[in-house]
Assembly symmetry: C2
């Protein structure tokens, strides 16, 4: 893949440097190491450093930095915890990285309303720690301890979206700063409203390309009285997926339901010296009352039996649950350890669940035909899965074959009425699929919205679509 | 309230009449009765007839009608079942009503994926009838048997949003037609996606001001194994609301939880010759497994006891449930019957639940001070309630007092971090509150989006905001 060379752009105007230095003092930096750090995410992409980094401590800071960049026609890229994928943070058009990680105050927790208002740099674990003793928790759990601002920007989810939704369903409202420094409030604290256009949902998933999130209010959920976990192996991915479909249709309010393929289970055995059966496995987590989760377990066991499930295990005590789920938590590192020194090319397809087994099996076949090692695991209740394609970064032929498989997977998912990305986003790397997935007209509408809100194309430019002119 | 006079606009161009006649034959009408019917909803507003009505039978019809209107600079207003409120259908700027009620085919029901794709004229009851035998249902239930296109356009909800969400959470994707006839596809069938801007949520609630919905895919839900109902009276609205808060915090996955105030209960006694206690009452519906709902009932009863609940009754058998819920279903007509010949001015406030009792009590006091009769009932789990202010339409002083109370209620809800409309929408009548609720900057952003998608301001103009120029 080729991206705009960082040298094809004007240097940061001296007047802007002076203004931001004046405004921020030591919170403004052009040090190479700082810039490099802010020009990369956790994908395997090379860094593309911004021209400078501005550390914002407040809404007013974001407003002032934005207004200054706007007057100087300089791009701005919001930076939270740096844990996104797909090149969201790469400064492909230079500009100023607005680091909001210092805006990490939890402004208010309202137990009766089951919501919390936080600054964008608050991480999900930080919020959950602050909720200790309230009986409430915040469920969304991407792999990293990401910032909530970044999670909203990428429409993140994780393992329990099947029960609690993604960031799409869990952000009630925001305060955000437009390119020119204007502050907007979206949504609010009401659980529902029919008043005007849904700007909250427009900003969730927009990856900082429309506005910089300065504050957000998220829904909280009651900690269940009882939690139980179960694990079961299946003879095939298809039987495992059919068990999931039936479980959901029976109305079991499953909180987590994760699929690990045989290769991933083998990786776990190698990694943890276990002797798990190397077969597709489902990991369940059930939330409810004491009696409710027992009943759910019975239903899940019955469904598993009907689908030739093997080695059904379940646990209610925290330590037993942790032991069962340890395998799922270890999956990422166990997968990487299959091939020391490798680089992992991550995919993120999502399809309607009726097509999930087909999609996974076709992908596994494509990987095998291309001699690629790629454990597959994912959030099967949502139809979302990741293939972690392990490649030798020095072997260009292998890297290209892996990229070709990832490309075919994205197109396969779209052809099955799914999406090329379930939770990582388009970023810099998946722009080719936008028109394939949405059609040219819908992409033109998105570009028209971008042009309306960010006419100078300064907000994280070159992400979601190439920087260019609107066809609105 | 004053609205643009229907005579302040040019007549429908003869060339457009000819083109639509040619295209639609008898499906194009300028008959006064047809126009009058299409220029009104079920609010108390006077009709504002469109200049003509075009009956669309297909996506292609909508495309052709839209393109023709666009070339002639003529407004277009989508019409489904005519059951909206707040003047959404009033042709305040004339134009062509595009009636999609004939587009009422259910295109596909996918049981494994728990979704259905329908034309916009399909009504909620029609969809549920078609789901018979699948084990699935579509939960959203506004009072009327509304069309799904209209429900999406107004971001409708109803009595079970607390469990199943509103149209916001239940529309997965759409096919829609822009002002100039371009067709866009939004969302898709994946349960989640992070690919680009969320156009589905932008269109849900946009009331036909951005595009005409031509097809939509909605989520379906499993019919619960068991359903039980309960009713309980409380000494005060505050205690009833506190019982609701605690019930939700305990994680009871309540499906419906409705509040009827003492006046409404009195109206029911008069209407149905019953002797119900005239006290604030909660109506519950619980969905789950057999054992699960029994357990939920026990929890609800315990919570009710703690909040001085009286006359706790519960039922699991369908006929007993129906009997318990009959009072809730009769509330609207019982309220109207309190004052024969009256007109009902409906309100639609929503607040964070911690403020709900305050908001209802302040509103009840305001109504009493103004000598107004107004039963209050609502979807208390969402913080949404309606006061049905009963006025003599001949008594202008009373009508004005009622409008003033409704106005203060909207402002009170907004001041409590809620919204002036939970499920009816802004339409023609609540535009004044847009800036109060969202702030000028957010409204400017909405107008910029409107201008970007509908530069000629032909899509249901004068709704949500006045027709005018963008300040984007």
């Amino acid at each position: 893949m080729t991206f705009p060379a960082a040298c094809d752009r004007p240097a940061l105007p001296q007047s802007l440097r002076d203004e931001l230095c004046q405004l921020l003092g030591t919170r403004f930096s052009t040090a190479a190491s700082v810039r490099e750090h802010h020009g990369s995410d956790i994908s395997a992409l090379d860094p593309m450093p911004p021209d400078a980094v501005a550390y914002a401590n407040s809404l007013d800071d974001i407003v002032d930095i934005s207004a200054a960049c706007y007057r100087n026609d300089v791009p701005m890229i919001a930076y939270g915890s740096g844990t996104s994928l797909e090149g969201w943070l790469q400064a492909s058009h230079g500009g100023v990285s607005i680091d909001v990680s210092g805006m990490n105050r939890i402004l208010e927790i309202r137990v009766d309303d089951m919501d919390a208002t936080v600054q964008p740099g608050v991480t999900r674990k930080q919020l959950n720690a602050a909720l200790h003793g309230t009986g409430l928790f915040f469920p969304i759990d991407p792999g990293a301890d990401a910032s909530l601002g970044g999670m909203a920007a990428t429409r993140a989810s994780g393992t329990n979206a099947v029960r609690y939704g993604t960031m799409r369903e869990n952000v009630l409202g925001m305060t955000a700063v437009l390119a020119d420094g204007r502050v907007i409030n979206t949504g609010g604290r009401a659980r529902k409203s029919s008043a005007g256009y849904d700007l909250t949902h427009l900003l969730v998933g927009s990856g900082g390309t429309l506005a910089t999130i300065a504050e957000l209010t998220v829904k909280l959920h009651p900690i269940p009285e009882a939690i139980s976990a179960a694990v079961c192996r299946f003879p095939s991915v298809d039987l495992a997926v059919r068990a999931v479909i039936q479980t959901i249709q029976l109305g079991v309010p499953i909180a987590r339901i994760e699929l690990l393929d045989a290769l991933t289970m083998g990786a776990l055995n190698a990694y943890s010296k276990t002797q798990l059966r190397e077969a597709p496995s489902l990991f369940f987590e059930l939330h409810g009352s004491e009696a409710g989760v027992k009943e759910q377990i019975e239903t899940v066991r019955m469904v598993a039996d009907e689908h030739q499930g093997l080695d059904f295990e379940w646990a209610v005590h925290p330590e037993d649950r942790s032991r069962l789920w340890q395998a799922r938590h270890d999956a990422y590192f166990a997968a990487l350890a299959l091939r020391p020194g490798c680089r992992a090319l991550t995919t993120d397809a999502v399809v309607p669940i009726s097509r999930l087994a087909d999609c996974i099996e076709a992908t596994a076949a494509d990987l095998a035909e291309n001699g690629l090692l790629a454990p597959i695991f994912g959030h099967v209740g949502d139809g979302n899965f990741h293939a972690l394609i392990l490649v030798d970064p020095e072997d260009q032929g292998e890297v290209q074959r892996a990229e070709a498989v990832a490309h075919r997977l994205a197109e396969r998912a779209i052809a099955m009425h799914g999406s090329c990305t379930g939770e990582h986003g388009i970023g810099l790397t998946k722009q080719h699929y936008m028109a394939v997935e949405h059609g040219e007209n819908a992409v033109d509408v998105m570009k028209a919205i971008k042009a309306a809100l960010d006419p100078k194309q300064l907000m994280n430019p070159g992400k979601i679509f190439p920087r260019g002119h609107s066809k609105g």
